[in-house]
């Protein structure tokens, strides 16, 4: 091993020596080289000098191609003088014009400056960097507002580039649109035909014309007219329907007869005035006759007739009826007698139509009467109307009656019958209301039949009155019970005014008076002295209770005050059955009794004690660091001196004042709710420096319970929204309204400014290398 090691070390040594030799050789070699070069130069010069000794080459030698620093004894050199030779110096003495051009050229050359020496690399790089930084920062600064805007935006929707919705007026949109499908074409055709606007959704020519033609006033009037017409139509319809429903045969018979008679009369009239029209009418009548003759309607062949035929043997009426039918047949088949039914009906309707609106109006008037809401205010007026005797007719009614009489014609009986029916109907309708005395009275003077109706109605109203009376009695009795409750000795006299003061009751009483036994009660307007007296009693008692006494500083007194507040009197209350109403003395007695009852447990003192304890418990404790026996005598029974105790007592700073400091009757727990505190915010988020600032931003609740739907949606809007399936590209200058910049790498720069510097440097380096 040792041998090997020794061999190795030897080898290493030898190598070292070799290296050293090499290094020694190296410095030598250049010196040798220099020596060689010098020698060569000298040698060359020598050769030249020798060759110049030759006569031929002498002139050649004198020529000088370049300035040399070497001074030789054989030719002129500027070496060592240190002065630069300038061309102008050489050309200065030249006066020949042939060299003027050369001079000019020389001047031109002189005016051109020489290229400066290139800066070193670091300097170049620094300058490049600076310039690049300025440029990029300038280019980037124009994005600042956009970045700021996006940061402060309530919501960002990506991709940022939106499809610009074109605000084109609808006319333009429509003009570009063409009907393609057959359905569309059809629709367009229709529109064209009816001169409806296709492209221009403004008004149609007709509408425009109408707008021009009609003023607002006219339109209003026309509308009113139309309304009226519609209303009238509906009245007629209602009336016709009503009449159609009437089942009375007699009524129908009479109606028909009346119609027939009228038709005949008209026909007569027509014959006189317009014979040709009459002829036509006649033809019609003839045709009807023919129809009648052809049909078996009135020939005792129907079901009814057959059934009657069976009975005819025993029943005189049936026989008569059959006879009547036959007679009718005869009548109809007689020449030039009957008229067509349809016309008659029309006429009939027209004739009766005039009555309808009046009746409707009257009903409305009547409806106003019993309305309890309206009646309260106008009770006087209505009463006056009602006071009038049924015999004394109101003006308009009389007028109507006279009209009716005018209308009466030879066939007055029919008319009367018709009227009677109408009355009955109206009565049936209004029997629910108890206010139709007027109506009855209107019909009174007509004739005996209507008198009957009136009597019927009287009976009805009587019944109603009885009912209302009964209910009134009930009310009275129930009121009595109430009053019994409220007062000790209710009297009969007091009852009535109290009853009258109630709106509903007053109303019924009035009715009672008017419709039933008149003059039973006369004391309507009696004021209720008792009730007012009660009020006046009540009021003074209330006043002292109202103003509240202010708190005072002394806790004890204050607490007493709190618990013995003065109370308003009891009189207005309904007193419970078990407790009799208290006089003042009794009240005092009761108070004393209560005091006695609660004498044992002094509630207030207990409470104050409790409060004191709570206050003590919540106070922060002082820390006592005194060590007994330290620095003075110690032992049993010895206490550290007061001075020492004072010195080593660490007083805790007083906290905030208690919330219940000025509230004597309250103990508020000052302990912290740790469980609730766990849910509270305990870290201030970034831009806020004080907790109150942050609290202000979270003051508004965002839940849908406290907000409207819209507000809730706005409050819970996500900050960033991405549309699914869309590529989110980096922001471009065009997107935000800038013109596209010449620099292509701007978007890249904008995206990652950190990378920029490195890349830029590389780029610059490349440039510098080139």
């Amino acid at each position: 091993m040792n041998v090997v090691r020794a061999a190795e070390s030897l080898l290493a040594l030898s190598q070292q020596e070799e290296l050293e030799d090499l290094s020694k050789d190296d410095p030598l070699s250049p010196s040798e080289d220099e020596g060689d070069i010098d020698g060569e130069r000298k040698h060359q010069k020598l050769l030249e000098a020798i060759s110049s000794l030759d006569g031929k080459n002498r002139r050649k030698l004198a020529e000088r191609s370049e300035a040399s620093l070497k001074v030789s004894e054989f030719n002129v050199t500027s070496e060592g003088s240190g002065e630069k030779l300038v061309l102008s110096d050489l050309l200065g003495p030249v006066k020949t014009s042939s060299l003027a051009a050369v001079k000019k050229q020389l001047n031109r050359v002189k005016s051109k400056k020489t290229v400066e020496l290139p800066l070193n690399k670091e300097e170049v790089e620094r300058i490049h960097r600076e310039v690049a930084f300025n440029k990029t920062s300038q280019a980037l600064s124009k994005w600042d507002p956009i970045v700021l805007k996006n940061r402060q935006a309530e919501q960002l929707v990506f991709p940022l580039k939106k499809e610009q919705s074109v605000f084109a007026p609808i006319e333009h949109v429509l003009s570009g649109w063409k009907a393609r499908t057959p359905l569309e074409q059809e629709v367009f055709n229709l529109l064209h035909k009816n001169k409806q606007p296709v492209t221009d959704p403004l008004l149609t020519p007709v509408e425009k014309a109408s707008l021009k033609a009609m003023s607002l006033e006219d339109a209003k009037m026309r509308r009113a007219e139309l309304q009226r017409a519609r209303a009238l139509q509906s009245y007629y319809e209602a009336r016709a329907r009503r009449e159609k429903k009437i089942k009375s045969k007699k009524y129908h018979k009479v109606l028909k007869k009346g119609k027939a008679r009228k038709a005949l009369k008209e026909f007569e009239k027509l014959r006189k005035v317009n014979p040709t029209a009459a002829l036509e009418e006649l033809e019609k009548i003839e045709k009807a006759r023919m129809m009648e003759r052809m049909s078996l309607k009135h020939q005792n062949s129907g079901k009814w007739a057959k059934s009657k035929a069976i009975m005819a043997k025993y029943d005189l009426e049936a026989r008569q009826a059959m006879q009547e039918q036959l007679a009718r047949n005869k009548e109809l088949t007689q020449k030039l007698q009957a008229a067509s039914d349809s016309e008659e009906e029309e006429e009939g309707v027209e004739e009766e139509g005039e009555l309808v609106p009046d009746a409707v109006n009257e009903i409305q008037m009547d409806a106003n009467g019993p309305n309890p809401w309206m009646l309260r205010n106008h009770s006087r007026g209505t009463k006056e109307i009602k006071v009038q005797d049924p015999e004394q007719l109101p003006e308009p009614v009389a007028h109507e009656a006279s009209e009716n009489e005018e209308e009466e014609r030879p066939g007055a009986e029919e008319e009367i019958l018709l009227n009677e029916f109408e009355e009955r109907r109206s009565l049936r309708k209004k029997s629910g209301l108890n206010q139709d005395a007027e109506l009855v009275s209107r019909q009174e003077p007509k004739d005996s039949s209507s008198q009957e109706v009136l009597s019927e109605l009287r009976a009805l109203s009587q019944k109603l009155n009885k009912e209302s009376q009964q209910s009134g009695k009930q009310n009275v009795s129930s009121m009595r019970t109430v009053l019994a409750v409220q007062r000790e000795e209710p009297t009969e006299a007091e009852e009535e005014p109290l009853l009258l003061q109630r709106p509903e009751r007053a109303h019924t009483m009035e009715e009672l008076e008017e419709l039933g036994k008149e003059g039973c009660f006369q004391n309507k307007e009696v004021p209720r002295p008792v009730g007012e007296g009660q009020q006046s009693e009540r009021n003074p008692d209330n006043q002292p209770g109202a103003p509240k006494e202010k708190k005072r500083k002394e806790q004890m007194i204050d607490l007493q005050n709190l618990l013995t507040t003065k109370s308003p009197s009891v009189k207005s209350l309904a007193v419970p059955m078990t407790v009799e109403e208290l006089e003042d003395e009794e009240e005092r007695d009761q108070k004393r009794m209560i005091k006695e009852a609660f004498a044992g447990d002094d509630v207030i003192r207990d409470f104050l004690k409790e409060k004191r304890e709570a206050v003590e418990a919540s106070k922060p404790k002082d820390v006592d660091l005194t060590l007994p026996g330290w620095g003075e005598w110690g032992g049993m029974g010895l206490k550290p001196s007061a001075k020492k105790r004072r010195r080593f007592l660490i007083k805790t700073p007083e906290g905030l004042p208690r919330k219940d400091k000025n509230l004597p009757n309250v103990i508020i727990n000052e302990k912290r709710n740790v469980h609730a505190a766990a849910h509270q915010v305990r870290v201030l988020p970034y831009p806020f420096t004080h907790h109150r600032q942050f609290e202000r931003t979270i003051q508004t609740p965002i839940g849908s319970t406290w907000n409207t739907q819209r507000a809730f949606q706005k409050l819970t809007m996500p900050k960033v929204v991405t549309k699914p399936g869309h590529i989110i590209k980096p922001i471009k200058a065009e997107d935000v309204g800038y013109r596209s910049s010449s620099r292509s790498d701007l978007s890249v720069v904008q995206r990652n400014p950190k990378q920029l510097s490195i890349r830029h440097k590389k780029h610059l380096k490349k440039n510098s290398v080139d």
């Binding site: 607002l216 618990l563 109370s567 419970p576 009852a597 409470f607 505190a677 915010v681 202000r696 907000n707």
Partner: protein
């Protein structure tokens, strides 16, 4: 129920009509005269001026385009300012006579404001300020939106009004029933149930269902509007109290020994033995907590959504039989025999507050729906109304001939008190005012002693349980006329109820969040904030948020000698010190003034002899 018809706001003035006669104007025509513009209600004055100045334009389709362009630069402005813009023109050339959004009454919007701008904030940086501004703008916008939606509350409340000095208390139920419509009249009824003793009753949160339980074990629920009986059972045990849980499908009954829960068919679902000898029940709908007060003096909170007992608190005040909840903050109020009312939350072992209300024991407590007023009645025959907004002071009080044994507040702040067999109802001025105890609004005598009172939500009805059964009284103006269809819909179907139940469960509020001031939860927990800050400083060894001490910049040309550096430092330090002193001096005179006031103005020379 009777409401005076308000004069129509948009009745056109006569002047306008006259003008119309002179020269008829279509609605699509432009208003040319200023007077016509003045007659029309709506846009504010500045707009009018604009219109007057603007020359008349020919009506063209181009105008639409123009107006669009002209509107563009105004876009970033606030919506309020936009209202002042010229009216938009539609394609048909019609002009909106009232352009822009409708104006919002300021008072209504103020009702919905949450940020109190009068409170000064410490100086904030620009970044913070911008955040604050955004928050404030948002709040304002939202309040305006809320004010707009007030319009949707179509129903108006109203009271019975006596005609010129008539006492409404003398109007009996029969009179009211006679006057109202049939549907309302049907809401007044009596259930004659003399057999099973005094009744307690409870309406479901939607006001549609009624549950009642008699002392002798009779329990029944019914849809009281249609009078359809849902179930009727006898539990063969004394029933102390009865209460619907979150919906009408579940019913808690406090029986003699334990608490039982039944469903709407009368099937017993649970028997909770941990709640024994329960006297009173209360349900907190948003927390899904059933609070029970027991004879043993325990207040127990039962989470009905998971069936766990959240907290069992010992009130240390003997038997508990007076309990009510504060609907505003879900705090339970207990009345005690020593005249105090204590306020409880499941998160705290001790009462949140104790209020001394009466000399004798407290017999009944009720709290209005806004959580502002508490009515108490005690054995000293007093009825008092307390303010619950921090001060807990009595606002008004009166002595009753026989103290009220039961109290109940309606949704609109009517106070009902049951005294013996009489029920008195007092009314205030409106929803936010306490009831004035001077004159009763209504009185009613029952056939038996009152044992339970409950106002029906969303119906003008007061349910009274008494010895003789149940009476449903009509109390005009008692209930909130507008209900929230998403929250408590009286007309909801079963499906809707189920969906609501899921939603309500998802929005369940944790029990530990119950505290006296629920708004305090939206505040930063300053104590732990400070604590954390301190810990951080300890951990890092320095205060990262502290202002760095002044370090003078090195200056050139020999001026940066050590002495000059120290001098400059000293200068800045002194400046700061001077600022501090100045501030403290500014504060001192205020303190001195405060102190000086209580002292006598002029001390006399003879004061020295005063001992």
């Amino acid at each position: 129920m009777e409401t005076a018809p308000k004069p129509g706001r948009d009745v056109p003035p006569k002047k306008d009509r006259l003008q119309a006669k002179k020269k008829p104007r279509r609605y699509w025509e432009e208003e040319t005269t200023l007077t016509a513009a003045g007659a029309s209600p709506g846009p504010p004055g500045s707009k009018k001026r604009n219109r007057e100045l603007r020359p008349e334009r020919p009506k063209n389709a181009n105008i639409t385009k123009k107006s669009r362009i002209s509107r563009k630069p105004h876009l970033p402005k606030k919506p309020r300012e936009r209202r002042n813009l010229e009216p938009q023109r539609s394609v048909s050339g019609a002009q909106d006579p009232f352009p822009g959004p409708a104006p919002v009454p300021v008072e209504v919007a103020r009702k919905f404001r949450r940020i109190d701008k009068s409170k000064k904030l410490p100086h904030s940086k620009s970044k913070t300020r911008s955040r604050l501004e955004v928050a404030e703008a948002e709040e304002e916008e939202i309040s305006i939106k809320a004010a707009r939606s007030e319009l949707l509350l179509a129903e108006e409340p109203g009271f019975l009004e006596g005609e010129n000095g008539e006492d409404t208390a003398q109007i009996r139920q029969a009179d009211i029933v006679e006057a109202v419509d049939i549907a309302s009249a049907a809401k007044h009824f009596d259930l004659n149930l003399r057999q099973f003793g005094p009744y307690r009753l409870n309406y479901s949160p939607t006001g549609r269902h009624l549950a009642f339980g008699g002392r002798r074990g009779h329990v029944a629920t019914l849809d009281w509007v249609t009078k359809r009986l849902m179930c009727e059972i006898n539990v063969m045990e004394a029933v102390r109290d009865i209460r619907f849980l979150h919906s009408e499908a579940l019913l808690a009954v406090a029986q003699n020994r334990w608490l039982h829960i039944y469903d709407n068919q009368g099937i017993e679902l649970h028997c909770i033995r941990r709640c024994d000898r329960v006297t009173r029940l209360e349900f907190l709908p948003f927390h899904f907590l059933l609070a029970t007060a027991s004879e043993t003096g325990f207040l127990t909170y039962l989470d009905v959504s998971v069936g766990k007992i959240v907290a069992a608190l010992n009130a240390r005040a003997g038997r508990l039989d007076v309990m009510t909840k504060n609907p505003y903050n879900a705090v339970i109020h207990l009345g005690h025999s020593n005249g105090t009312v204590s306020l409880w939350s499941p998160a705290m072992k001790e009462p949140l507050a104790k209020i001394l209300c009466h000399r004798g024991g407290v017999r009944a407590v009720a709290i209005d729906s806004t959580g502002t007023y508490m009515a108490t009645s005690g054995l000293d025959h007093q009825l008092k109304i307390f303010d619950l907004r921090g001060t807990f002071q009595p606002l008004s009080a009166r002595t009753l001939p026989q103290g009220a044994g039961h109290l109940a507040f309606s949704q609109r702040g009517l106070l009902a008190a049951g005294m013996g067999d009489v029920v008195n109802i007092w009314a205030g001025q409106g929803k936010a005012s306490p009831p004035s105890l001077e004159q009763p609004y209504l009185t009613h005598r029952l056939s038996g002693h009152v044992h339970g009172l409950h106002f029906c939500p969303f119906e003008d009805v007061l349910g009274v349980g008494h010895n003789g059964g149940i009476t449903s009284m009509l109390v005009p103006g008692a209930a909130e006329p507008n209900f929230d269809g998403l929250e408590s819909n009286p007309y909801r179907s079963q499906k809707q109820r189920q969906e609501w139940e899921v939603k309500a469960l998802l929005e369940k509020v944790p029990a530990e969040l119950i505290c006296l001031d629920p708004r305090a939860l939206a505040e930063v927990d300053v104590i732990s904030l400070e604590q954390e800050k301190k810990e951080r400083i300890e951990r890092l060894g320095y205060d990262p948020e502290a202002k760095a001490p002044f370090q003078p910049k090195p200056k050139q040309k020999g001026r940066s000698s050590t002495a000059s550096l120290v001098k400059r430092k000293r200068k800045v330090m002194d400046e700061e010190h001077r600022d501090k002193v100045r501030q403290s001096l500014e504060q001192q005179p205020q303190k001195q003034e405060k102190k000086a006031k209580p002292l006598r103005a002029r001390p006399s020379a003879l004061d020295r002899f005063v001992r």
